[in-house]
Structure formats: C-alpha cells, structure tokens
Symmetry: C2
Subunit: 473 residues, 2 copies
C-alpha cells in the first residue's frame, strides 16, 4: 500500500464528493481534524462547485499524520485517512513569523526581510500573458512580497469576481465563483515558486456608492466571505492576511467591526499567518482608533509618508514596522504617487536604518503596460535596482541590525539629505572598526583606509544621499 506524502509546509488536500443541489456554500458544513501524536488541529473544508468538496491542510511537523472528516452531511462525514509529512524541498522555509520583536523569519529560522511591492489588481485582468509578464518582472525584481487585492474597485468589471455574477446588478453574495478562487490559487502558487509572499488584502474602501457594495456587507456576509477564504487559502504557506487597505476610508465599518473580523480570522486560521490591517490617514499617532498593540495584529502595516516615524512606531507597539505605503515612484496627479526614485530611496534608507521596512510601488502615466501599482506589468522606475542594492547590504549585515548597533558591533547609518564634511562616530575604544562609505544612488561602497577605534571624527565628502557601514573587525 502506498502512503500519501506531502512536504512540510506543503498543502495536503482531501477531495470528496457530496451534494450539489441547493446552495452547498451555505448549507453544507465540513471540517477535518488532523492528528499528530496527541496534537489535534481542526480546519474547515469548502465547496468547490460541481459536487466537489475539499479540505486543505498545511502540516508543520514531519512524520505520520491522521485525519477524520466531520460533517452533518453523511457522505462527507467520518472519512479517515493518513499521510506522511516529509522534509521541505529546497527553497521551502515555511510561513513567515515575527521574530525578536521587530523582525521576521521563516518558520525554519531563516531570516526574512520584507522588501515588498504592490500590484493591487494584477490577477484581475483575465489576461494570463499579462500575469506571466508580471511574474517575470517580479522574478527579476528585488521584491519578496506583493500586496494584492481580492475584491475589485467600484468601476472595475473583471471577467470574474469572488462571487458568482459579473456586475453589481447580478452578483450573488451567497455563492462564490470557484473559478475565480482557482485562478487566485494559481497565482499564489506562482508567487510561492518565486519565493514571494502574498500579502492578501481582503477588503478595501474603493467601492463607494454605485459600486459592488462589498465594503458595506453585513456582519454575516463578511464572516461567510472570510470563512471561505481561510478554508481555501490558509494552507498556502506564503499567505499574509491584510484585512483591509486604508480601513479608515471605509465609512461603512467601525474600528470595532474591524477588530471583530480580525479576531475571527485569528480564530479560524489554524496556522496563525501574519495578520494586520493597513491604515489610510490615521497614521500619525497611536490612538485608540489605531492601536497596533492589539493581539490580533502580528505586525504594523503602515501608511505613513515620513520614514522617520519608524522609531516612534516601533516604540509605540513593539512590533515590526512595515511601511507598505510611503508614496510611490511615479508621475501621476496625486501626491501619493509621484515622488522620484531618489526621494523613494531616501525614505527606504531612512526607514531601514531605523529598524523598519519599507515597501515599493510605482505608477507612471502612459506606459505600455500601465501602472504597476494597479495591474503589474513592467517596472519603469529607477528605484528597483537601488532597492536590490539596499536589500543586498541588509542581507550582508546581522539579522538584528538594530541590536548589533546597540551592542556596538555593527551600524548602518544613513546621512540623508545632509552633507557631512565630517561625522562623529561613537565607536567603542576596545574594538577596531572598518568604515565604508555608501552612495545609495550610484550604489557604490567605498572602504575608508585603515581601521578606527573610540570616538572618531570621520572625514567625509559632504555629499547628500550617503550612508556609513561601520563593522567591528
């Protein structure tokens, strides 16, 4: 007898057939309990259309697993089985977790530095060639996370949406479009193969009067939607939950609503994927309305245009700071999307050297493949190669660079727009340090002669957009 196998943090799937009449999305409940030694983990299954039901599971330990299904529908109840969880294949490090307060690492311990980008609707064009182009571009890019929406905006009329129906007039909020979901899953797999995390945006506010109405569903409809998403997607190790984009721009929901929905996600997700919510303008201080200390937020997914805020954000919630929106490189008619590559890089360096993470976005008008931020395609900006350079420097440094700086063994210092003819470095007198001068725009690293020790006044060329890398020998 051949035993089924699935690699650690891979997806094991149980496929069953059952009723196809009535509305199985609403009427048929299905789950399974997976057992590993004495540990039991229960996950929901989901209806995939045409009488097919699936239960997906992501095992996190190697060895023998057993399962048993549970349903009030007799055909789906009490099915038992087993599988063996094998070691992960190369490149599979498991889901990303928060580590040491402000950092991230994959579950196998490999450090993960989020260098994200944003392509809100790259999967909604109904154009596989365009998706392949986007995937190629992502593969060439320095980016290892992409923020992407599940729901269309008010004016979008994609071939398919999460629900059955193709326009606000005929959409059926009680039935999901299984083809739509299968397609998103294909995209999640595509990203996973490239080592890219999918920061899935589950709600957004860009659906005002006259649109789909998805930003003003009832509590029951919201939970119906979230339950289905979690059942289908949570066994993908590269999924992050971003409950909403710019949540405070949605006038149909309160902070209490968002809190309850986030608590629901936390309760239903058996794997505790990273989970957060992204703000609009409620960004300038931690208040009761924007309190990232809440236990259902694993990290801070911030919109803030001043990277210096990183320090205050770290202190306020003691969680990783990911500034997913800091203005995009581009030339559109809005301030959020028309900074230069140089300005974006200034913000990147300002944030990273303060212990935060910054994400990329790009929106140029009149480019052949449209605005990256909206639909993916090709990148036209000057920042991606500089972001790659920065990412490489970060990866060369200690995993916890802020702790190393505190301890005195390493520091990456960004001098910003300022021109220092000299700079006082408070190095330890007991150690020897090598100092490198970094040009963040021309991507050069120049080693200063000799070594330094103790408080030193280092002569510099007085150029803006430079950084210093100070490493104890």
């Amino acid at each position: 007898m051949k035993i089924q196998e699935v690699e650690r943090w891979g997806t094991f799937e149980i496929v069953m057939t059952g009723p196809s009449t009535g509305n199985p999305f609403q009427e048929v409940a299905l789950s399974a309990v997976f057992e590993y030694h004495n540990d039991r983990i229960e996950v929901d299954g989901f209806y995939d259309g045409a009488g097919v039901y699936r239960i997906r599971f992501m095992p996190d330990r190697e060895g023998a697993w057993r399962f048993i299904t549970k349903s009030v529908t007799p055909e789906l109840d009490d099915m038992v089985g087993s599988f063996v969880c094998t070691p992960p294949s190369p490149g599979n490090h498991g889901p990303v977790r928060v580590k040491d307060g402000y950092l991230f690492a994959y579950e196998d311990g490999t450090p993960y530095l989020p260098f994200g980008t944003t392509c809100y609707h790259w999967t909604h064009k109904g154009d596989r060639a365009h998706e392949q182009l986007t995937l190629e571009e992502l593969d060439k890019s320095p980016f290892n996370k992409v923020r992407m929406c599940l729901l269309p905006t008010k004016d979008m009329r994609p071939d398919q949406v999460v629900y059955e129906g193709t326009c606000p007039e005929d959409v059926d909020l009680t039935r999901f479009n299984t083809d739509f979901f299968a397609h998103v899953e294909q995209c999640l797999s595509d990203l996973m193969k490239l080592g890219i995390e999918a920061d899935l945006i589950l709600f957004h506010p860009y659906d005002k009067q006259g649109g789909w109405g998805f930003n003003g569903l009832t509590r029951e409809q919201d939970l119906f939607y979230l339950r289905y998403i979690i059942a289908r997607f949570s066994a993908f190790r590269n999924v992050w939950w971003s409950l909403s984009n710019e949540y405070d721009f949605n006038t149909m929901k309160t902070v209490e609503d968002w809190d309850r929905l986030l608590q629901f996600v936390q309760r239903k997700d058996a794997y505790q994927h990273l989970s957060s919510i992204h703000n609009g303008t409620k960004m300038y201080e931690h208040t009761s309305e924007f309190d990232a200390t809440k236990s259902w937020l694993t990290h801070q997914s911030i919109q803030h245009w001043d990277a210096e805020a990183t320090t205050a954000l770290r202190a306020a919630a003691r969680k990783p700071v990911v500034i997913d929106e800091i203005s995009y490189e581009g030339n559109v008619a809005k301030r959020w999307g028309n900074i230069t590559g140089l300005e974006l890089m200034d913000r990147y360096w300002t944030g990273l050297t303060r212990g935060g993470f910054i994400a990329h976005g790009e929106c140029f008008v009149n480019k052949p493949t449209g605005a990256w931020i909206s639909g993916g395609g090709r990148l036209y900006g000057e920042s991606p190669e500089r972001i790659r350079f920065l990412r490489k420097l970060m990866e060369e440094g200690p995993a916890d660079w802020m702790a190393a700086r505190e301890e005195g063994s390493y520091a990456l210092l960004y001098l910003g727009k300022y021109r220092y003819s000299s700079y006082k470095l408070p190095m330890s007198a007991d150690r020897q340090y090598q100092i490198e001068l970094i040009d963040i725009w021309n991507m050069s690293v120049y080693s200063l002669d000799g070594t330094y020790a103790g408080q030193s006044d280092v002569t510099l060329p007085a150029e803006p957009y430079t950084a210093l890398r100070v490493v104890a020998v």
Copy 2:
C-alpha cells in the same frame, strides 16, 4: 533761533554732562518725557562714559515735540527743549509692525516680507574691514533682516564685550563697555542704510560652565542689562528684540523667567518693537512651555526643520510665523548646518506658500571668510539667488497672498518634491485665470497658453521642484 529737526522715525538725541565718579551706570537714573500735543512718552536715558549722558527718542508723528528731563541728579534734571519732526526721508518707512494677523508692514503701510539671514557674531571680530565685507555682501543679497547676537559664546574672546573687561575673570557686570555699544550702534546704522532689520538676540545658551556666565545672571543683572540695551537701541527703527536664541537649551532659566523678561522689555520699550523668543527643540507643538499666544510675543520666531509645520503654527497662535532656523545650507558635521541649496529652497517654497516666512543661514567649512552663520563675510551657497527669485515673485503678488488664495484671485502653489503629470486646480468658474509654471531651481517662469476657468486638470511636465502661479485676469 534755529529749531532742531529730526525726521519721522529718525533718532533725536539729548546729550548732557553729569557725574563721572562712582558707578553712574548703577547710581544715576535719568529719563525724559517727550510731548506731542497731549501725548506724553517717557524714555530712559543712559550713561555713555566720561561724564556724558544721552537720551534717545524716535518720534512717530510729524510736527512740534517738547521734552523735559527727569533725574534725582540735579545737573540732569528738568532740562527742557523742543524739536520739529519732519517727513521721513526716502527709504525710511518706520519700524516693522505686525499686520493683518500673519503679515508684516512698515509703520507707513509699506508691506514688509521678512527674508532674513543669520550672522550671529559678525560685529564681534574687531575687524572693520570684515564688517564692511559683510555689509557689501548683505547689500548684494536678497536679505532684509539679520539675526545677530549681542553676547559672545563661551569660547569667544572678542576685543570688547557688553561689559567692561575682556575675559570671564575680569568682566565687571556692573559697568557697560560704551565703546562696544557705540560699535554695535554703528553696525545698526549701517544695516539701516541698507534697509536691513536687525533681529537682536539678547541672550543665548552657548555659554556653559567655564564661560562668561551671561546665561545665568541674576534677575537684577538681567534687568540692568536689558534696561541699558533698550535705552541705547530702542530709538533705532530697524531693531527687533529676540530675547533669546534656543531659550530651552539654557538650563539656568525657566519659562517663567523668560516671560518676566519679555514683559519687562515690553514695558520699557516705548516703541513696541517686534519682540519674540527663539526655540531650540521645543518646537513640535504649542504647549504651555512654548505658547506663542502670549501677548508679549508679537510674532513666532521658530526653529523647526519641517516647513509644513507652518500651517499648524499659524493656526495655533494666529501670529506671523517666521521660521528663522530650518537648517542651513552647508556641509558641517551637524544636521542643522549641512543641507543642500535645493533642499533649503524646497523648505522656503513649502513655508512661503503656506503663509509663513523662512530665514537663511549658511555654513561651509574651509571657506576663505569662514562660516557666514557665525561671522558673516562672503556667501558661497546656491540658495541666495534662488531666494532673490522667490522674493521677487512674492513682491509681485498680493500683500496677503493667503487671503487672495482663499478669495480665489491668486494662488502660488508649490508642488514640492512631487512630479505631477497633471494637477487639478479648483478655480472659480466665473473668472478667467492665467497659469504660470515656475521652476524654483532654474528660476524660470513659463506661461501656459490661453486662460483657464472652473475646475481644470492642468497638464504638467511631471518635474519635481516646480510651482504654479495662478492669477485671475
């Protein structure tokens, strides 16, 4: 009989002789009452050494004035006289006053837009040739105000200081150095001839342990010093009082101390010159410690490195906002003094178009005449000519450009570091507007074809550091 004449806002001076023994600075009180019709204005006189006493007065109305001196010292008491105040000579517009809440104008109504610079110790070198060089450079510059200190810093040992003595060990806090004051008065006159206001900094915190001790004088010593300064300088129409630079860095004084000293200045100064105090780091919000609504502050003399704060500062105190310190063009080893000319111009435009005023400073290392900010000399930076360009544009516009913008007749809009391919202008549909595109760095003004009316989406070249001037035809 020939009647003495003095022009309006000029300085009338009574010279008398009296006791020269003992310590006349402390022991001899002298004042005079000046009468114009039924109006009576009393001002203090001062001892000028070698038995000479002077009383200075700045008449503000044309016509006949009478005076009578008052002193417990018989030789100085009860001297009467008269003079005629004549019309002001060309270029004499009187002292600068606050106008319409957030603006300034000379007393004759001529608008005054402060375009200041900073040369803290340009009068302390004991080198008249250097002072002439500084005056020449100021005359060529776009600047019409200079911030300057009366007191030396801890390590300075100028030929003379405000008091008798030349070093901390022999300085006599009970006697003023009249030659020092005569020299400062020469410099005030020099500035007046160039149409430049002197923003006199009376105290500063740069005099810590081992220095002169001027930042920790007793209340009586402070008042003795202020009374003498007001008696000597207040008849100069181009004087502003800046009670202290970076007052919050002086640990020897409290906010209450500063308030009392400012109240004293307000009470003693017969002409109510502009009066303020300049902050160090207490700049990010109006608090009880930094409350510019206090009646003895005529305007806000701010240190803040973010010009966008102008809006909040205007709203918080409803007084003119003068950001006298926004970081200087230069390349020294401190963030306050090493921004590029471009960055400084970005801050200028950001502040001015929000209804504030920005001041200039420059500090480059290794320049022939040293750092401008400290001692004057030559200017080496790239910002002055761009400041001249901005000043010219401001002078071409309406005196109250923020009110004109509100009213819809004029707007100067700065697009900052952003690159707009188009920009939505909410112009009135009832008027025709001409639009000009301004390159703030290359100092060009380009008129867009035709006229515009109503909400318009104006096509732009998507370049950073541009501004729009929109004028109703």
